[in-house]
Symmetry: C2
Subunit: 129 residues, 2 copies
Amino acid sequence: MEPKSTAETIVKQLEDAWNGADGAAFAEPFASDADFVNIRGELHTGRQAIAAGHQGIFDSIYRGSEVRYSVIQARELDDDAILAHIDATLNVPSGPMAGEINALASIVLVGDGDEPRIAAFHNTVVAGA
Amino acid sequence: MEPKSTAETIVKQLEDAWNGADGAAFAEPFASDADFVNIRGELHTGRQAIAAGHQGIFDSIYRGSEVRYSVIQARELDDDAILAHIDATLNVPSGPMAGEINALASIVLVGDGDEPRIAAFHNTVVAGA
């Protein structure tokens, strides 16, 4: 697994799923037991919880939103795991979160055979951005 | 490495260092090339940057503060890496951040011989806590 291109392939899947407002597709690159920490500091565990949580925000506060992800850096932690940092820019057209939100995410990818999956995702809003 | 006790040993070092306002001691359990994302969504890379950044906040906005860490969960990602989630409660006596701040951190520990070190740390304030 070349770290940066591997991470870019995965985050493109996330981006397409977000912009299609498809919670199940968003969760698809995650491991079944993945851990997700959102910008509110809430921990969700498991692909199904990640799918349901995202479908919930796609259908409410983030309805019609568009996200752009960019891989800042990526490196191997060991033979089986990659750590990457992602810049996220979200544009929300209306509602209580309307406007542009910039966030920084860490993701950890762990190989599952040839297929790396997201084992951990942690997101923080960039202050003052 | 038993995941939870390994994580608990490491976060106790962080807690003691924070409460002693010692930036170098705080950075000591980190790998030399560790990545740290703080609650403002700022990425700092390298043990020296982590030490200097923490000494800066220990001497200013978080002067006299006390932190308590608790390991919520920990698991092996593969043979060499552990993922843990940490509950952090910070009490700041005075200044612009005065009061209690609750945060949720993810840490990734990677074995360096027998000695696990923090390869990645990512922190988010818990909203509404």
